[in-house]
Symmetry: C3
Subunit: 475 residues, 3 copies
């Protein structure tokens, strides 16, 4: 296989190759993801074994194996109760390789293939026979200083990497990175879900933490808002340019001061019900949009995941274990109360992410193609894939154009997969644009500018990641 042309449609591969050539080496803009900042705070951080790096933290991989009858214990995923799990990482690796055929045709299969090849220099296809020798090769590489996270950051040519951090986080790792003198740009993102969703396990504790870190005693709605504003200011001082909010639905509702206070107090007493929680979250989205309008932090909304769908997995292993399942989403009606307040605000940027593709052409593109505050995030999660990207482009661009999208983000906790993920997007963009050129929908000159926007400029501009405050120019 000549993998240089991978993912390009044959009927426009020559044009795709040309478009790709001009964007493939651009620096990576990573405005949203889940890399742990401690990796980069410690200059000598080691990833551990290949299984520590590639399998145990990656729910994309172990969910597929689980679906075919392999237990998470067999894969070394730690139990909450500290119960026995497989500790022989060679055995785990062998099991993964024995079942690698399951990943045929999946983005996970592609990412790992590309990652092994381009990050680790391993060209072989994983299988039962070569499992141990590849394990050896990976182990060897991971021991080398070139595979410390900071060295990879530089090699990956990351221009900026945003992490995602709880509102109550002290950002000590970010502090350490700043103080270390290392020049990699790593910035936090303000994610207040744990202090906003009053029906989440441990909300009360989170509020205590919020008081502690903010220095504002949170006793009522007013002090709660004050504490949140304090945290936002702190995050901003640490380089944050964005916030992030996850909600099952896009429901928004503005509560009057009395209602907000009453629900907040019920929450503090542990007496809030599901409807309280839903309304409070919907209200806080509007509040947060207002704060963003003030402080300029870009607001990200991740909508549509039913978290922890499988109670057995949640009880035994906790969150983010591959058991989150999408649900139907609705934006036109749900987001209206928020948009009635801030939809026409040209200084506000809200980036929408969703897991229900039927909303792309029906709601998201029409909304983003009208409201100044809205941009569409790239295909999220299950749709961060070649077909997902293709459907996104085909469903969204005709109505919203590309300039109402937010470019790409990798949204990953799998650090060494970052270049592969960006490369898939870059190739998918080049391929899609080549299809427009060959059908004469746009000319090559436009396609080149669109490619640059899609893979670099739009993310940088949307998330205000320019070096100066200068607004970027298109066209």
């Amino acid at each position: 296989m000549n993998l240089e042309d991978r993912y390009f449609s044959p009927d426009s591969a020559a044009i795709a190759r040309d478009l790709y050539a001009q964007i493939k080496d651009l620096p990576l803009i990573c405005p949203h993801g889940h890399v742990e900042p401690r990796l980069l705070a410690d200059p000598d951080f080691s990833f551990g074994t290949p299984v520590d790096l590639l399998i145990i933290p990656d729910h994309y991989i172990f969910r597929m194996l689980y679906s075919q009858g392999i237990t998470l214990e067999e894969l070394g995923v730690p139990r909450r109760d500290g119960g026995e799990v497989e500790r022989d990482h060679r055995k785990i690796w062998q099991k993964v390789c024995d079942h690698w055929h399951l990943f045929r045709g999946t983005p996970t299969g592609i990412w790992l293939r590309d990652e092994l090849r381009h990050v680790f220099g391993i060209d072989a296809k994983l299988n039962s026979v070569n499992a141990q020798s590849i394990y050896d090769a990976l182990t060897e590489k991971l021991r080398h200083p070139d595979f410390r996270p900071r060295r990879l950051f530089e090699r990956f040519n990351i221009e900026v990497l945003a992490t995602t951090d709880a509102a109550t986080d002290t950002l000590e790792h970010h502090q350490a990175i700043r103080e270390s003198g290392w020049l990699g740009r790593v910035i936090p993102t303000f994610r207040p879900d744990a202090v906003v969703n009053i029906d989440m396990d441990g909300w009360g504790e989170s509020i205590h933490s919020l008081s502690a870190v903010s220095g504002i005693e949170v006793i009522d709605y007013a002090s709660y808002i004050a504490a949140l504003e304090q945290r936002r200011a702190f995050f901003k001082s640490m380089g944050a340019t964005a916030t992030d909010h996850a909600a099952q639905t896009a429901y928004t509702e503005h509560l009057n001061a009395h209602e907000a206070e009453a629900i907040f107090q019920r929450g503090m007493k542990g007496e809030a019900n599901a409807d309280d929680a839903r309304r409070f979250t919907g209200h806080m989205l509007i509040e947060m949009a207002g704060m963003s309008s003030e402080d300029g932090l870009v607001m990200q909304l991740h909508i549509g995941s039913y978290r922890d769908h499988n109670p057995l997995i949640y009880q035994r292993f906790g969150r983010n274990m591959g058991a989150d399942i999408p649900i139907v989403s609705e934006f036109t009606r749900n987001l209206k109360p928020l948009l009635d307040f801030f939809g026409n605000d040209r200084t506000l940027t809200i980036v929408l992410f969703n897991l229900d593709e039927s909303t792309y052409s029906r709601e998201l593109a029409p909304l983003a193609g009208h409201y100044p505050c809205l941009r569409l995030g790239p295909p999220w999660w299950f749709f961060d894939s070649l077909n997902g990207m293709r459907r996104f482009f085909d469903s969204v661009v005709e109505t919203a154009g590309i300039y109402n999208t937010a470019g790409f983000n990798d949204d990953t906790r799998a650090y060494p997969s970052i270049p592969s993920r960006h490369d898939v997007w870059r190739r998918a963009s080049a391929d899609w644009l080549a299809g427009l050129v060959v059908r004469q929908i746009v000319d090559e000159e436009d396609a080149h500018e669109m490619a640059y926007a899609l893979v670099y400029q739009l993310a940088k501009e949307t998330y205000k990641l320019g070096d100066q405050e200068t607004e970027l120019e298109f066209g």
Copy 2:
């Protein structure tokens, strides 16, 4: 760029070219749209400046610019309160051209490119540098008698053009066209929304108008129905072959005489609530289907738009300002009460339009592939685009066939874009059919007949626009 093959897939372009060659010059059938009849009533009507013609009335264009932070005032869109808006049309045109990159990959970009080229003879791509010279060239053209609406009608080879007119319209412009001796066929369409949707602003006034124009004093449900019947007969006498109904949902419900009367009376007193309005609209759809079954007017249903979603825009600029957003639609259950009455009526034709593409394969194609009265309208509004058409063909035809579709209509208020819009459909049809041929799903002989049906015959037959009453033959 050799634009002659534009929009064709490379792998079947030769076949597409051949199919297209045989349909490209067929007359245009325009059974649904929003061209104002006064354009054609006045033989000397002038379009004004290029901005009057191309920008100010076109919400496809200004909604995109608005989404990127340009105000409608800057674009010269008139305010309801008569407030200040930009009057320098050269300045507006420059602003549009400065931002023309926003339309890359959009149908609007394609339509305007094709329109400039084929209607105005301008081949250049709009940009900041050539904006003023293109403005000059357009101004020059628009002064010439060849660019009067009637001359364009002839040059466009329009066989018939249907306008869309309020039930209370006197059709004076249609009368003037008839009396003028000009031979262009321009017919009205009966659109009773303003007198049917009792929660619409100004319903009471519309009922007064209905009394006035019909000569029937509308005081109760019976006189209301009588007045509507009178209007339908009048429209039909003026050449109308169809009605048009817009509703947020496809909800239908048959009210008994007592309920209908009660809701109507609450409406007359200004006491109808939202549920009354919903039920009354749902009932009137059934009533109107019944009237169509009697008088033979084809019934169009446009379902799924949340109109005037942005209150600021509505208050300041009014309706049809690019702030209508689609919502989820449902037909299987909602349309059942109507179909229980008239679904098996072979003399009735109902044409369905929708903005929720997930209904195409799930509901619309299965319904149209069974019920004799149903036909599917072409991709509507945001989906009147190359991808929209492709998805429509791919989702609908396998279950409903092409002969349960209604061919194409341009649905536009942008008069000079009519040929471009039909040409996009003709090319999209040829391209899709060529894909069937090259995959040997149909042979070339069938593909030629299908092309003719899709771009000419089906619209003509569905809307009963034949010169004689002769039924058209297929196959």
Copy 3:
């Protein structure tokens, strides 16, 4: 036309041809369908006229003709009241051929073309002129012993054929097949809808039949369950490996013993309401999953059809008359109660079928890509088509992989169309895989294994149709 490459995309046809060559002659695994076992019980069964065979029992064909104004009476479909219908089969055949253009671009058109060619040796395209000569040719063939069902079974190379049988069926035809010494493998499937859905016409009678055939007097919930268990054991003894359940929605709910009993008793008295029926069906799905976990029968769930949507057609002609229309489906929330019980059960297999394609990528693939018990059935009914298959592959595989799918089944009552239907799937699989190869998403080695899995191995394994109990190995 060189039909050998039919349905292949030109840009990867060479690879598709190569993949197809290796799978085209594999035996047919038919784990789900509606062939009547009496065809195969009687060694001398004759299909009757071409119209008896191809038109009257095929709602795909007569629904399309009905949608264009041809009555079912004209097509010879028997009325429930014994009323007059067309009996001249030559006249019916002529009418079908006169309207054959309606099937252009539809799977029905493709199946019949392929069937005429490959089963009957007729290459001509149906039309008004050749209708009678083709009728003659078909009649001639059907008289020949080679066209007895058993001979065709062997010629079609069917490895196993599962029928679908009421829970109360005595399976006499299956018994007869077994006793006849003929070696064709024909097995029943346990379909208990008529005894589970308490709002179905004739539920009470079905319960009487259940008592009669099981020998257990069904008087309460406990005896009802016992009788169902008896029937399952009987079906299993007759070779069944699966059950099948149709429900309008995927709603599941576990009732406690008291509630279940109460609803059952209301059903027995004819007093159950719609909500009772909905909850009881939802409960029984969980019960049946539990039984499957015990007895190993694979559980099929067909969700999302609004049956008998057209009351006139139902009253006049009964069920399965082309008037079933899909509705919106939801799985993430609806299936959770069942999955909370059995989702992690690695010995249970549930195969999901659906008519709402928006659930593919949003819910079905994420669910199947996590829960060990779930597999996705192939595109069902309206989606058993080239585009339906393509959308299924493109929407499902990236998240669930192919190994969480159940391969193909033809789901047909049109016996001689079985090879055509499998061939369309085989070609669609080869074409899709060739697209992956040419884009270098998988290599040719993997593609060959995937092709084998998709067209043969996955169906055989999912439905436990191996000759021995040996578990099949992949990869």
